[in-house]
């Protein structure tokens, strides 16, 4: 091809691609994405399932000793937690009775409706910490639905098609969640890091932060239900500005090995925009 023709082809392609980006970011090509994503999601589900089985087997073999030790530790921890659980069940029953007396209308875990989904892939860009799941609008999944596992919060749905959805993980640098420390009730915000860590920030300077304390969602802003476990405090330090404290938080969820997640499909955020007018 002649040089002039090549430059023309490049310029035309660039223009087409820029238009595609613009229309896609405006949501104008959603129906097309829905159609194309069906076979891609299917292929992704098949290949992703096989990959996870193989990878899980290789990991298990490689970590056999570690798993054995961890199993022993977990058994010991389980014994401790069972005693605590019995105590908490008692307290829970007291709470239910008192809440009923107060007619306390608040959505608890037992009111939540879940859809269980397989993880079928991870975001291809690398810059975004996100996973793809095999549940979509047909399963009742909607935009911004919270996604959890039994170990705590995973993220929120940011893109949804008929048969699949993309979940932005809490470890993504753009993720920001209102949280509180479970024992001291101090509020803060957990933000993700590209390295995969979580940082709890905006903790008041004089607040007591206990290492090992659980970090849970506080429900402020109504973007997520309250009391979802986000992680555990690893360490704490004063922020660079010295205006607040920052804590390193370790999620109990292993984001690299996520296979099954649950989407809470009946959480409806309160529309606060009316108060902003």
């Amino acid at each position: 091809m002649l040089r002039g023709n090549r430059v023309f082809a490049f310029a035309m392609t660039t223009v087409i691609v820029m238009l595609l980006i613009y229309f896609s970011s405006q949501g104008a090509v959603g129906p097309l994405e829905d159609v194309v994503s069906v076979p891609l999601n299917f292929a992704q589900g098949v290949i992703g399932g096989m990959t996870q089985s193989i990878s899980g087997f290789v990991d298990d073999v490689a970590n056999f000793r570690k798993l054995e030790r961890r199993n022993k530790d977990l058994e010991e921890a389980l014994a401790v937690y069972q005693a605590k659980l019995a105590e908490l069940v008692e307290k829970g029953q007291d709470y239910d009775r008192l809440a009923a007396l107060l007619d306390y209308d608040r959505q608890g875990p037992e009111d939540r409706q879940y859809v269980t989904c397989d993880v079928i892939g991870r975001d291809t860009t690398g810059f975004v910490r996100a996973i793809q799941i095999d549940c979509g609008r047909r399963n009742g999944v909607g935009l911004l639905d919270p996604v959890v596992t039994e170990l705590g919060l995973v993220g929120r749905v940011v893109k949804v098609s008929a048969t699949g959805a993309e979940v932005l993980l809490v470890t993504d640098p753009t993720s920001s969640i209102n949280v509180r420390l479970q024992s001291t009730r101090e509020d803060g915000r957990v933000v993700g890091q590209l390295a995969g860590d979580l940082i709890m920030t905006n903790i008041p300077v004089n607040a007591e932060v206990i290492e090992g304390d659980l970090v849970v969602t506080n429900g402020l802003g109504q973007t997520l239900p309250a009391d979802l476990v986000v992680g555990q405090v690893l360490s704490v330090a004063l922020a660079e500005s010295e205006l607040y404290q920052e804590a390193r938080v370790r999620s109990l969820v292993d984001f690299g090995r996520l296979e099954i997640v649950q989407v809470i499909i009946n959480f409806e955020p309160v529309d606060l925009s009316v108060f902003e007018q």
């Binding site: 980006i21 613009y22 891609l40 892939g121 975001d123 690398g126 793809q132 993309e166 753009t174 890091q193």
Partner: protein, 168 residues
């Protein structure tokens, strides 16, 4: 060879990127099969075919990502044009040029992707962190994998050409 034959290959590569390659992540970076296929095609074939592969491959990639459709295509199109403009046809299949192209191309591709994500995807990834955690590992993987991929693609290309009858 028809450019359309690349569509299923690129779709498969995008699915493999989201599944198998994601298991090989070093930091945030992983081998990028779509990028490697498009670069190999640009090194082996004409610019028009490579541009089609860049657009289709990028769109397939973005179907499995938070990024808006076309975000990956833009970076790939720029890389294809750079290969076509800067490399003479004879240099493209040497032992040195493909790894250099893979390393430089990964950087250009990721920078373009970061800019599009910031402008249209409402995803403000910190550029420094992004380059450190994602681009550098991807660059290493892509540089190591470009020569084997180029060989496989060259074999496929040769195999798809009609055989000429020999004169006895």
């Amino acid at each position: 060879m028809s450019n359309y034959f690349g569509i299923p290959i690129l779709a498969l590569a995008a699915v493999l990127n989201a599944t198998v390659m994601a298991e090989l992540r070093l930091g945030g970076g992983a081998p990028d099969l779509v990028f490697l296929l498009v670069v190999c095609w640009a090194l082996l074939m004409d610019v028009r075919g490579a541009l089609v592969w860049a657009v289709v491959g990028g769109v397939m990639q973005d179907m499995l990502s938070v990024a808006p459709l076309g975000a990956s295509s833009l970076g790939l199109v720029i890389v294809v044009f750079a290969i076509d403009s800067l490399l003479a046809p004879d240099d493209r299949v040497s032992l040195v040029a493909p790894p250099v192209v893979a390393a430089g191309g990964t950087l250009v591709y990721h920078l373009a992707l970061l800019i599009v994500l910031r402008m249209f995807g409402e995803v403000a990834v910190p550029v420094g962190q992004g380059l450190y955690y994602v681009t550098v590992p991807s660059m290493i993987y892509n540089t190591l994998l470009i020569l084997p991929t180029l060989r496989i693609m060259a074999a496929i290309y040769r195999g798809s050409q009609p055989q000429r009858p020999r004169l006895e």
